[in-house]
Amino acid sequence: MKPIPDKNILLFKSCLISTEYPGVESSTKYVFDKLGIEYTIDHDQSCCTGLGHYSDVFDQESTTLIAARNFDIAIKNNHPNIVTMCATCYAINKKAAKLLNNNEKIREEINTVFKECYVDRKYEVDSIDPTENIFHVVEIIYNKKDKLKDLIKIELSDDLKIATHHACHYCKVFYNDTIGGVRDPNILDKLVESCNLKTVGWFNEKRTTCGAGFRQRFVNKDLSMKVSSEKLISLKDVDILIHMCPNCHMQFDRYQPYIAKKTDNTFKTMHINIMQLIAMMMGADIEKVVGLQTHTIPVNIKAIKNEDKWKKINKAKEKLERKKDKKL
C-alpha cells in the first residue's frame, strides 16, 4: 500500500460538501481531532472546478491552472498532503498533478500565466506527487482503522442492513492507487467494520455509478434516473447506504423521493457519508457535528440505541481492569 500521511494535511474544501452536506466537513474535523491527525483548512484554496470540468465547460488548461494555484497554497502553508472529501476533487487534483509533472509545455504555460498576472505563485516539477501527496479522506482513516476501533462509543442494532457506495472517481480513475479493491471495492466496508458494524458486502450493483453523470442529471434526466433507480431498487431492503462523495450522496439522498414517485416504489434507505457515520459512532453531536439536518431523507437516529448500555459495558470493563491492577 502507498504511504499514507497523518500530518501536514490540507483538508481540501469541496463545493458540494460546503453547500449540500457541510456535516461531512465538521464530521471529518471531529474524527481527525479524535485520531490525532494534524491538518489545516486554507480559505484561499478555491474549488477544484470538478463539476464544471466534467460538464465540459472547463478546459483541461484552466482546470490545471486552478490546481497549480491550490498546490502552491498547500506547499506555502507547509501542508502539502492534499486530502479531499469528494471523489471528484481527488481525481481532478491527481490528474492535474500528473500533467504538471509530465508535461513541460503546460507547466511552463501555467507558470507564465502566474508571472504575467504578477501573482507570486509557481509550480515546480514533482513538488506534488500524485500518489504520495493526494488522498481521499477514507484513505487517511483506513490507515488508522485499528486506533479507530478503540474510539467507538455507540452501538447500533444488529439487524440494521448497511451497504456501501464506492465513488467512481475514487475507485476507477486512478485504479493503481485505489486502496481496498477496484472490481470488488471494499475500503468503505472495512471502515464500517471498524465501527463494530457489518455490511451486506457484495451486491450486484455494487460497482454501478450513482447516475449523476454530471450533465446527465440536468439535461438527460430520464437517463440519469434510470441508472440511479436500478441501484436504489437493488438496495430496497438496505437501511443505510454509506457514501464517500457528495455528488453520489446528493444523487441518492436528494432524488430518492423523486425516483420513488416516478417508479412507484417505496424506499427506506438512509444516506450517510462514511465520516458522518464514524463521527456518530464516536458519539459526536448529531446537530452540531454530524449535520444530518441538511439531508433530504431523514436519518432516523432512533435506530441508534444502546448508548447507555455501551457506556455501562465500558465502565464495567474499567472496573475489572482496576480490580486486576489492585491484585497485581
Partner: protein, 196 residues
C-alpha cells in the same frame, strides 16, 4: 482489399486524441482490440444508443463524423470502461477529448450552453456547486431544496464551519488567472449560444 489512405497532410483522429492535453501519457487507444468490454459495463450504453466500443472503432478508422455524433454526449464520465479495459485504453477519456474537439469546432451539443453558468459562478466567486441555470429544476425535483439553501449559512455556523467563499483578494486572483487563460472568453462563447 482495404485501401490505406496515405494522405498525411491531415492529422489522423487517433493522433489528435493521443496528442490532446487530456490524454494520459499511457493511453492504450491504439491497442484496442474491439473486445466490447467497455460497452458491456457502460451505464450509458445500457440505457441509450451510446456505444463506447463503436466510438473507439470510429476514432481508429479516422472517421471524424464521430465528433458530431450526438450519442457521445450520453457518457456519464464514470470511468467504469476505463477501469476494466484489458489494454489500458480509456473510452471515457477518448469521449472527453472528442467533446472538447467538438467544442473547439463549434459543434458541441446544444444543451452545453446551460452549463456555462458553472463557469460564470466560478469567475464570480471561485466556487462551482450546482449551476444557477438549474436551481428551479432542483427546487421542483427536490422538496425543500431552496428552503435549505436559505438556512445554509445558519447551519454552517451551528457546525462551527468557516466561510464558503474565499476572501475577496483570492476571488479576484482566480478571476485574473482564468481570464489570462481565456476561460472567460470560452464561457462567453458557450453562453452566447444560449438562444432561448
Amino acid at each position: 482489399m482495404k485501401v490505406i489512405n496515405l494522405d498525411e497532410t491531415r492529422e489522423k483522429l487517433s493522433n489528435k486524441v493521443l496528442n490532446n492535453i487530456k490524454a494520459s501519457h499511457d493511453l492504450g487507444l491504439l491497442r484496442c482490440v474491439q473486445c466490447g468490454m467497455c460497452t458491456s459495463v457502460c451505464p450509458g450504453a445500457k440505457h441509450s444508443n451510446y456505444n463506447p466500443r463503436y466510438m473507439v472503432e470510429k476514432v481508429l478508422e479516422n472517421d471524424e463524423k464521430i465528433i458530431e455524433n450526438k450519442d457521445i454526449w450520453n457518457c456519464f464520465y464514470c470511468y467504469t470502461c476505463h477501469s476494466v479495459c484489458a489494454v489500458g485504453n480509456s473510452p471515457c477519456e477518448v469521449n472527453q477529448i472528442l467533446r472538447q474537439i467538438a467544442i473547439d469546432n463549434g459543434k458541441e451539443d446544444e444543451k452545453l450552453k446551460y452549463f456555462a453558468s458553472y463557469g460564470e459562478t466560478f469567475l464570480d466567486i471561485g466556487i462551482g456547486g450546482m449551476p444557477k441555470s438549474f436551481f428551479m429544476t432542483l427546487h421542483e425535483d427536490i422538496e425543500g431544496w431552496l428552503d435549505f439553501k436559505a438556512e445554509l449559512e445558519e447551519i454552517r455556523k451551528e457546525l462551527s464551519l468557516g466561510p464558503i467563499q474565499m476572501p475577496q483578494e483570492s476571488i479576484e486572483e482566480v478571476r485574473k488567472l482564468l481570464n489570462k487563460m481565456n476561460f472567460d472568453k470560452r464561457v462567453k462563447r458557450l453562453k452566447k449560444e444560449e438562444k432561448e
